[in-house]
């Protein structure tokens, strides 16, 4: 009988076998459900959870008066859920439509339609016209694509003023993150906090029947209010753009305006710059013409390489991130040190024979002329290197170094902009006296323009160094002030008395130098012409930076202006010729804008002068004779004797007008001296002055109760378009602007 065996199988074998198998299953499930729980749960949640980011609106950037420089506005984006597409025809149809409507490549869109995803961005920041076309397409196709394609809100960054203040403001990238300038530097304030919607969804994307969504509201970014005043920025940019063309500037031209009492930056620019709405393109015609002339073909690799190199360069803020030798403008600080330390008496006389030997090195005056006997004040007005070398000797290396540090030239200003360059100066221990002598007139070391204007502002401000700043306040979307920058006095560097003396020096310098002089205003200033270090030879080359730093009004300075013209390409490259008139014009219009009234009382500008005959005399003598009468001299050519003068002998000019003296050098033969008279009617005095000067003509201002702010030219003695000799006096009548 085989029953027992079979019965035992039924009774014991199978229950044990199956029991063990069930036990095994329980263990296996334990492994998956309990031991590997975290792993599987997180993966399940990964696929089930939809996290939708709600972009925060980026804050605006505004000027001090609330004029918008950068803002974010609503735009649209096209999104797709390719997993909702069922067939190849649908994918092809969608890819075709989208690539045509949105200007994308068909292949890239088609590839997105094949992804097994619920959420793919097709294109961001589109305008409403494109968005409407997509919405229309979806509705026309009934419900075929309603789950697969939709349009949602997006934001786009607009820069309504284009090029204005572009190197300062900067721009954002594709994901609205700041890439350069203030947009980059204050990202934390501007960006805001994105909100989140977290939801658990079915595999087809609809919500679950029970509550699984959680919301976290987006916090919009804060608005930045700058200290910059768009009106003054506009004035600055207008003048330096014109000057750039006029002087055929090979590198760049820059300017900065600072409130000397607070350290607030009122305007800052370097040209050429770029349009913030198209940050990777050059929109400067002069550059584009030059590039085309040089490389012919816009598609050539050389052209593209040069183009790209230029556009990167044009995005830099020259005032902050580029170093230069300040040149003679630095004499202000050398003089300040000497005055504060009582090293020079105001009556002491220096004697200049054009050069001075200081042991190993002989120093020359840049003008090439001997200044002879001169006081400290004259030495400043003459920009006499010989005198300043002697003054520097009295200051000594150690004191010079300490004052240099106190004026802030060895540390970054911390103005609140990215990419501020660090200055290059000597080590205190190794700095030689010859280093000192060169440094006394602003050569052999390099600083940034922002450092220079901050130092000059300290002198204008009675010796108190103010912390430079460009961000006035940060305000949230409800108007609450998050951050308010206040004027901050950092330290008193030199005494008020020393400053007053120095201001007198600088005002005298402007008056004597003429080209920085502005009728009705008392301007203090100093020009500089510094040689640029030649990158190929590492020594000083022929290229120069012409600069002018000034502040006004002299009795109670409000603003300081620095302009620097990097590599002017004209016959005369001196700062006094190129930068001083530029700074003066900007100053004039800014003071006008600031409602600082001009004072014509005691003004001697209308005094007539009869031009003496100087043909045949030496250049030095001729210049001295003209300057004696209050005329400005422009010597053309490097000959010994004067061959020709414009205007000719016995012409009646006004004090402050310019006489052109042509030397007997060969270059001056067959020189074209006729110019076209510009159109002046309706223009303010500063502009008329500037226009005539550019043309090489002289101005006589006529008018009663001249108020700089409100008068315009109504009549000119020679009609616009007439060909006249250079130096001709044009009488311009000014009257109150009719409202």
């Amino acid at each position: 009988m085989n029953m027992p065996s079979s019965n035992n199988r039924v009774r014991y074998l199978w229950p044990i076998v199956f029991g063990l198998l069930f036990l095994g299953l329980a263990g296996w499930l334990f492994r998956i459900q309990v031991i590997l729980h975290d792993k599987y749960e997180s993966r399940a949640l990964d696929q089930q959870t939809w996290e939708i980011t709600v972009d925060a609106k980026r804050g605006s950037i505004k000027d001090v008066n609330g004029v918008v420089l950068a803002r974010s506005a609503s735009a649209y984006q096209v999104l797709m859920a390719p997993s909702q597409l069922d067939s190849e025809e649908e994918r092809v149809e969608l890819a075709t439509f989208l690539s045509e409507t949105l200007g994308l490549s068909y292949d890239s869109v088609y590839e997105k339609t094949t992804k097994k995803s619920q959420y793919i961005v097709i294109k961001r920041r589109i305008e409403s016209a494109e968005a409407d076309a997509v919405v229309k397409f979806v509705s026309e196709n009934k419900k075929k694509y309603s789950d697969a394609l939709w349009v949602s809100e997006d934001t786009k960054r607009y820069y309504p003023l284009g090029n204005l203040l572009s190197t300062v403001v900067g721009f954002v990238g594709t994901d609205n993150q700041g890439l350069e300038g203030l947009e980059y530097y204050y990202e934390q304030y501007l960006k805001g906090t994105p909100g989140k919607i977290t939801a658990i969804r079915t595999a087809s994307g609809s919500s679950l029947p029970f509550e699984t969504e959680s919301y976290q509201d987006a916090v919009d970014g804060y608005d930045l209010y700058l200290t910059v005043d768009v009106q003054m920025q506009y004035i600055l940019e207008k003048y330096i753009s014109n000057a750039r063309v006029e002087h055929n500037v090979q590198s760049r031209i820059g300017g900065v305006i600072m409130n000397v009492k607070t350290g607030a930056i009122l305007a800052m620019s370097s040209k050429p710059d770029y349009d913030l709405n198209a940050p990777f393109a050059i929109n400067d015609e002069m550059t584009l013409k030059q590039l085309l002339k040089e490389y012919k073909d816009v598609a050539s690799p050389e052209y593209i390489k040069a183009y790209n190199a230029q556009q990167v360069e044009y995005r830099k803020n020259k005032i902050i991130s580029e170093l230069y030798d300040p040149g003679s403008t630095f004499k202000i600080f050398t003089a300040a040190m000497a005055l504060e330390e009582n090293l020079v008496s105001l009556t002491e006389k220096f004697y200049c024979r054009n050069s001075i030997n200081m042991g190993a090195i002989t120093y020359h005056c840049a003008s090439g002329r001997s200044h002879k006997e001169e006081t400290f004040r004259d030495a400043m007005a003459n920009s006499c290197n010989v005198a300043f070398v002697q003054i520097a000797e009295r200051i000594g290396v150690s004191r010079f170094y300490d004052y240099f540090t106190l004026f802030g030239f060895r540390s970054k200003t911390g103005v609140g902009l990215p990419g501020e360059a660090a200055s290059i100066f000597f080590d205190k221990e190794t700095m030689s006296v010859w280093n000192l002598y060169s440094a006394s007139f602003g050569q052999t070391f390099q600083i940034t323009p922002i450092q220079l204007i901050a130092g000059v502002s300290a002198i204008a401000n009675g010796g108190v160094y103010m912390q430079p700043y460009i961000l006035d306040r940060v305000v949230d979307q409800n108007g609450n002030v998050i951050l308010q920058n206040e004027a901050e006095a950092v330290r008193q560097i030199i005494s008020k008395e020393s400053c007053d003396t120095l201001n007198d020096f600088l005002e005298y310098t402007v008056v004597k130098g003429k080209r920085g002089y502005l009728e009705g205003y008392r301007i203090c200033g100093k020009t500089g012409t510094s040689q640029k270090v030649d990158s190929s030879s590492a020594g000083y080359g022929n290229k120069v930076v012409a600069s002018f730093v000034c502040f006004a009004p002299a009795d109670d300075p409000e603003i300081a202006i620095l302009v620097l013209v990097d590599e002017p390409n004209t016959e005369i490259q001196f700062g006094s010729y190129i930068a001083a008139p530029l700074g003066r014009d900007i100053m004039g219009e800014c003071l006008e804008y600031l409602n600082i009234e001009p004072d014509y009382e005691g003004d001697s500008s209308s005094r007539s002068v009869t031009v003496p005959g100087v043909v045949g005399t030496s250049a030095d003598q001729a210049a001295a004779a003209m300057e004696e009468l209050g005329l400005i001299v422009k010597i053309i050519g490097d000959g010994e004797k004067i061959a020709r003068q414009l205007p000719v002998e016995k012409t009646v000019l006004c004090e402050g007008n310019t006489v052109l003296l042509y030397t007997d050098s060969k270059d001056n033969e067959n020189l074209n001296t006729t110019v076209t008279v510009p159109y002046l009617i309706g223009k303010p005095a500063a502009e008329c002055n500037s226009l005539l000067q550019q043309a090489g003509l002289n101005i006589k201002v006529v008018g009663e109760n001249l108020n700089y702010a409100t008068t315009v030219a109504v009549k000119q003695s020679v009609a616009a378009g007439t060909q006249v000799e250079k130096g001709t006096l044009i009488t311009v009548h000014f009257e109150e602007k009719k409202q």
Binding site: W14, P15, Q33, K39
Partner: protein, 392 residues
């Protein structure tokens, strides 16, 4: 002998209550799970979220009637019916192969009513095998009569099911058949060469067919192709793994929302694990194990060899199918379509299953369970062969 029968028919009124309780408990849990698990899928497919539960509920009600009737229908009648039922199911299996236009030929449509012949075939195989193996003249230790001939009986059905193709169904039929042959007392040693041959065949199949290797690879590494071949296995693991010890709560499965491919059918246990957790899953396993062990207990105390083998077949089917299903959804075996008894959605399957439970209950009426000591039961079994002889 007649007295014996009569004395037994006096206690005929009582079916095995523990077994019945296990069946009803599993059915209740199964329906509750189906309601939750099938909800989203029903809504998506039919627009009516109660679609599955309503139909399954109706089939469960019908199934309970079938179970009740089967528990009264004298099992001895199956001796005569078995060959005809078997023949009929072979015909149906053939018919489904010829008539069905589906890629997987599993369903027969008769006047708006559809059913799966393979579900019916399993029962008829069990009945015919039980009949064959309970023949007292059978030399069960003979290689040919004890192993090969009965193997032909289930082999024919397995083959027909296998070419539908319904590989897991065929494997299930084979497993049931093997368990019955072994239970009948076949010489296990003689089966070793067959087993080796099967292993060799499987290995050959594995190396000859690339899709087999692919399938095994995705089973072992479902992460390698999460959106393709590994999708089902991975989604199921996510569901089970999300459950933890105590689960997300009834109705709170997230994986059932169209992530799991068949939340109402093959992967219903994954949803149960996700919602109820490991402890509840083990409780369900315990109920299944109890049902199965109790079933074998009934088989061991069955009145005769024929009925014993019927119970062995039916219980093995529940056991094998349950273990296969849970092993598949938990990634212990490669993904293959096999449903979970009492849980998975499917009308035919539930009707047949409850019918089978009815047969077990019918036989339990005659089993000498509570009162009889083991010796007595053996004695009673000794008597049955002669009885069988008389009837065959």
């Amino acid at each position: 002998m007649k007295n014996d029968l009569q004395s037994r028919s006096k206690r005929i009124s009582s079916v095995d209550l523990p077994f019945l309780a296990a069946v009803l408990l599993l059915l209740a849990i199964g329906l509750a799970t189906l309601y939750s698990a099938g909800y989203a899928k029903a809504l998506q497919k039919t627009g009516n979220s109660y679609f599955y539960i309503a139909r399954q509920g109706a089939f469960a009600a019908g199934g309970l009637v079938v179970m009740f009737l089967a528990s009264w229908f004298p099992y001895k009648a199956y001796r005569k019916l078995a060959p005809f039922l078997y023949g009929a199911s072979v015909v149906l299996l053939g018919a489904v192969l010829l008539l069905s236009n589906d890629s997987e030929k599993r369903w027969l449509y008769i006047g708006g009513f559809q059913f799966q012949p393979s579900e019916v075939a399993k029962v008829t195989v069990i009945l015919l095998l039980a009949l064959y193996l309970s023949n007292p003249k059978l030399r069960v230790r003979s290689f040919w009569r004890g192993i090969v001939f009965p193997a032909v009986i289930f082999g024919v059905c397995a083959l027909l099911v296998g070419v539908e193709p319904h590989l897991s169904g065929a494997i299930l039929v084979c497993c049931i058949g093997l368990i019955m042959i072994i239970s009948a007392g076949a010489n296990v040693l003689q089966m070793v060469p067959i087993g080796l041959a099967c292993v060799a065949g499987a290995v050959a199949l594995y190396f000859s067919k690339e899709y087999m290797q692919q399938r095994v690879y995705t089973w072992l590494h479902p992460e390698s192709d999460p959106t393709g071949a590994g999708y089902q296995a991975l989604q199921s693991l996510y569901a089970i793994g999300s459950g933890g010890l105590t689960g997300l709560g009834y109705g709170n499965s997230r994986q059932k929302y169209l992530y799991l491919p068949e939340p109402q059918n093959d992967f219903i246990f994954s949803v149960f694990c996700e919602e109820m957790g490991w402890i509840a899953a083990v409780l369900v396993l315990c109920i299944f194990a109890f049902l199965i062990i109790r079933g074998f207990y009934i088989a061991a105390h069955a009145p005769d060899r024929f009925s014993s083998l019927i119970v062995v077949g039916i219980v093995s089917r529940v056991a094998v199918q349950t273990i296969f299903n849970i092993a598949v959804v938990s990634g212990a075996l490669p993904v293959t379509g096999i449903s979970l008894p009492f849980f998975s959605y499917g009308g035919t399957a539930l009707l047949v299953l409850l019918g089978e439970m009815g047969i077990v209950l019918q036989i339990s009426r005659y089993a000498t369970i509570e009162k009889d000591p083991p010796l007595k039961s053996e004695k009673s079994e000794k008597q049955t062969p002669s009885e069988q002889e008389a009837t065959v």
